[in-house]
Structures are given as structure tokens and as C-alpha cells.
């Protein structure tokens, strides 16, 4: 069925158009380290039954890291069992999350059954791989995918700008706020309760904001478990 098999190409078309229309001098000449990011983290709580996903709300602009926005949510609900956390070039990251969300929604509608977490992980890998020339030109995006699968339970996947992914059995932290990983390493416990996890997520972002200039603003937290995704304090767990 042509329309069915070609839908992936349709879904990825916006990225391919961007890559094709990219000016040649840009291709691969911008130093990736010139981009500062943010802090996104996800960790298992409740003995691996739930995931707490957290991000800051700061989007910075230019080399001096002016705050373009302080309440930009980087924890995005893809569907009722998947949360995507984004860091890097904000505009592209939002586009990728929108592509993934639309793809999942369409596939589940047409197949009339739920997609596995692995299918979503593989699609996000493809999206990032397709956009590798954009990443090499100075618009890298990194992501964390927190998923809940009926068969496999709560799982966390970490993505690099080239689309590689790795499953993390404990926690994942990305962005320039990764400097606060030591705090996570010291304080994270698998038997943390959900409330402890939420409290700790706020503390983690506060620590990152102290250590990293590109982190700050509102704190966004979502909790994922077998019942779906819940936004803490309506999606904004401000201090």
C-alpha cells in the first residue's frame, strides 16, 4: 500500500527540505561547542515503576546567552505513555518533537493499536540521523525519551545529535547543566518515592542553574507511570 509505506518519507520531509536548502558554507563549519543548552533530566523512581522528567525553562540567544525566554517547556508529551525532553537548538528541537508526535498519532490511528516504545525510539533516532547535517552546521539537538510500555515497563533512552540511542537503567541527564550530574549520582535512589523524586528534580535544576549560565527560569516536571503522563502543578513546578 503506497500511501502507508510512504508516510515515513512524508513525516521526515520537513527535515530533508531544511537539509537540502541549507547554504553550503554552513555545512559543518560551526563549532558545536559554541551552542549552550539547558538542563534536562529523567530518572526512575518508585523502584522503577515511574519516571520523573524535568527541565528548566530558559532559552538563551547568542554567544552572551541572553535569555530569550524563561518559561519555555522542554518536557513534551508525545502521547499518553511517552515524554520527550529536548535540549540544543530550540526551534529545531520543537520541530522534531512535533514530527515525532504527529507520526506516533498517525501510525496509532491507522494501525488502530498502540505503538511499542521501541518504535518511537527508532523513529526519533531516524529524525535525528536525518538532521545530522543541521547538527553539524551548528544546530544540534539532543533528547531524552521517557517511555512506559505495557510489556517492558518504564524505560529511559538517551539520544545524541547523530541519532544514536542508549537505554539508561537509572537516570539520564543532558544539556549544559550536565555539570550537576554529580548531584544526581550522589542522591538518586531507585526506591525514591514519587514525591521525593519531584522534590529532588526541583533541587537538581536549582543546582544546575547555579553552576551553568544557560540554565534557569521556570522548572517543568512531568511524571510518567502506567496511568499515563501527569504534569506536576499544571506543567510548571515553579519555585
Amino acid at each position: 500500500m503506497r500511501v502507508y509505506t510512504h508516510f515515513d518519507n512524508i513525516a521526515l520531509a520537513p527535515i530533508r527540505e531544511l537539509v537540502a536548502s541549507m547554504p553550503r558554507p554552513l555545512n559543518g563549519v560551526v563549532n558545536l561547542s559554541s551552542w549552550h543548552g539547558t538542563t534536562i533530566a529523567a530518572f526512575l523512581v518508585d523502584n522503577g515503576r515511574s519516571i520523573v522528567a524535568v527541565s528548566d525553562g530558559k532559552v538563551s540567544e547568542g554567544q552572551l546567552l541572553y535569555a530569550a525566554s524563561l518559561d519555555f517547556p522542554k518536557v513534551i508529551e508525545v502521547d499518553r505513555s511517552t515524554v520527550m525532553l529536548i535540549a540544543g537548538a530550540a526551534g529545531f528541537a520543537v520541530l522534531y518533537s512535533k514530527i515525532l508526535k504527529n507520526w506516533v498519532e498517525t501510525m496509532e490511528r491507522v494501525r488502530e493499536e498502540r505503538l511499542s516504545a521501541r518504535a518511537k525510539v527508532n523513529m526519533l533516532s531516524r529524525i535525528l540521523r536525518e538532521s545530522l547535517p543541521l547538527a553539524a552546521s551548528g544546530f544540534p539537538v539532543v533528547a531524552i525519551l521517557a517511555t512506559f510500555d505495557k510489556r517492558k515497563g518504564a524505560r529511559i533512552f538517551l539520544f545524541t545529535p547523530d541519532g544514536s540511542n542508549v537505554r539508561r537503567k537509572t537516570y539520564a541527564i543532558l544539556g549544559s547543566g550536565k555539570v550537576s550530574e554529580a548531584s544526581l549520582l550522589d542522591n538518586w535512589r531507585a526506591d525514591m518515592s514519587r514525591e521525593e523524586g519531584i522534590g529532588y528534580a526541583k533541587k537538581l535544576i536549582r543546582t544546575a542553574a547555579q553552576l551553568d549560565t544557560a540554565t534557569g527560569g521556570q522548572i517543568f516536571i512531568k511524571v510518567l507511570d502506567e496511568n499515563g503522563v501527569e504534569s506536576v502543578d499544571g506543567g510548571r513546578a515553579s519555585e
Binding site: 500511501v3 508516510f7 504527529n102 498519532e105 498517525t106 490511528r109
Partner: protein
């Protein structure tokens, strides 16, 4: 050996063949109301659905062959998805989607080699914030679009009876009954009960599989698009 067949003869043959297929289509009831839209359909296959969500506010039921129906509704779903991505969820319009679907049906009827969509019809329903703005359309096997705004019955109440192309009296009386009892102010749960009590429609509810879908208007008003399409049976 090749045979010369006039276009009019060939068209008539195809029309007869399509009607023969559609004469065995299982029944579908569409009931627009203030609360939302109710769609009831029976299904020969217990594993497959016949009422499909094309997009949050749009549902589709097909009549005729299963393969053709599947291609038709999935095509519409992909088209809706592209519109939803490029525009927004609220901008996906049934009117635009069925323009493509209608062209597909027309091509399959008039083009000799467009086999899979042959002998298929579709009903599209789109629920809006107000009942007056709902869009209900019936696409026949040639791609013609007929809109309607009252409760209607499609397919046959006794699809396995061979009618030899004659008009079905049972269907006529069922359609009359449906227009008599149709009242848009009734709640959808009441409607299901009323139809269940009616002698003419009881067969639908006692068939091997009955599908019931409600399209909730209050969810559209709240902008909760993912809660509009509800499969209750």
C-alpha cells in the same frame, strides 16, 4: 481475443457490479444530535473495526469490500494527518479530505485498472462546536458527495438476503422510522436504548459484532480533541 465494448456498456456493467457488491453492505446508522454524533455499525468480522477515526473530530465508515474500504479510510487518515501537521488540529477539515477521497472513488470507477477501490462507499462525519456546523457526507461508489443533516441508515438491514438488485422494502420502512423518531435533543445513550427497543433495528444490536462510536461535542468545545472519538462498543 479482444472484445470491443462501448463506453456506456462498460460503465453500466461496472455500475451493476458495484451495486451488486454494495447490496450486501451491512447496516450503518448515523444520528446527529446536540450532544454529539452517534455512529452504529455492524461488522461481519469480529477482529476488524468498521468505524475509524480519521482525525480527532472526523470519523469514517465504509460500505462494500474490506480491502477497498481499508485503502480509502487510511488514505483519508494520512491526508488529515498532513493537514494537522502543516496547519493545526483545529484546521483539519472534512470538506477538504473528502475532496481527495471523492476523486479516488471516481478514478477507481472510471479507470479500468483502479481495481482495489471498486465498489466501495464511505460515510464521513465531522463534529463541530455547534450542531449546525457538523459536516455529514455520504460518498457513493462513483465519488459523488451527498451531504445530510438528519439521522440516516446506510447499507442493508438484511444484507445476506439476495434481492436481485430490487429496492429493499425493509430498508425503506427502516429509513422512514428513523426519520420519524429522530430528535436531536435526545441524549446519545437514550438513542441507543430507543433503537434497541425498535423491532426494525433490533437485528443490529443482536448481530455478531456491533460497533458504537460517539463523537463528543463537549470535548470539541473544550479543545480536548483527543477525547472526541469514543468507542463504546
Amino acid at each position: 481475443m479482444s472484445e470491443f465494448v462501448e463506453i456506456s456498456t462498460s460503465t453500466r456493467r461496472r455500475e451493476e457490479e458495484s451495486r451488486r457488491i454494495l447490496d450486501r453492505a451491512s447496516p450503518v446508522i448515523v444520528w446527529p444530535a446536540e450532544e454529539g454524533i452517534l455512529v452504529i455499525a455492524t461488522n461481519r468480522d469480529k477482529r476488524e473495526n468498521r468505524i475509524h477515526s480519521i482525525y480527532d473530530r472526523i470519523a469514517c465508515v465504509t460500505l462494500g469490500t474490506f480491502s477497498g474500504g481499508t485503502i480509502l479510510w487510511q488514505h483519508a487518515a494520512f491526508r488529515a494527518s498532513s493537514d494537522g501537521f502543516n496547519l493545526s488540529k483545529g484546521d483539519v477539515s472534512c470538506r477538504i479530505i473528502i475532496r481527495d477521497t471523492s476523486a479516488l472513488l471516481s478514478e477507481s470507477f472510471h479507470g479500468l485498472r483502479k481495481g482495489p477501490l471498486f465498489g466501495v462507499e464511505a460515510i464521513f462525519v465531522e463534529v463541530d462546536e455547534e450542531r449546525e456546523s457538523d459536516y455529514l457526507a455520504y460518498l457513493n461508489f462513483m465519488g459523488f458527495v451527498n451531504t445530510f443533516d438528519q439521522a440516516r441508515l446506510f447499507g442493508r438491514l438484511d444484507p445476506d438476503v439476495d434481492r436481485n438488485g430490487d429496492r429493499d422494502e425493509l430498508k425503506d420502512s427502516a429509513e422512514r422510522k428513523l426519520s420519524e423518531i429522530w430528535d436531536p435533543t435526545r441524549s446519545l445513550s437514550d438513542v441507543i436504548e430507543i433503537l434497541n427497543r425498535e423491532e426494525l433495528f433490533r437485528g443490529i444490536f443482536t448481530s455478531s459484532r456491533v460497533e458504537i462510536v460517539t463523537m463528543d461535542r463537549s470535548a470539541v468545545k473544550k479543545g480536548e480533541f483527543n477525547r472526541v472519538f469514543k468507542r463504546t462498543a
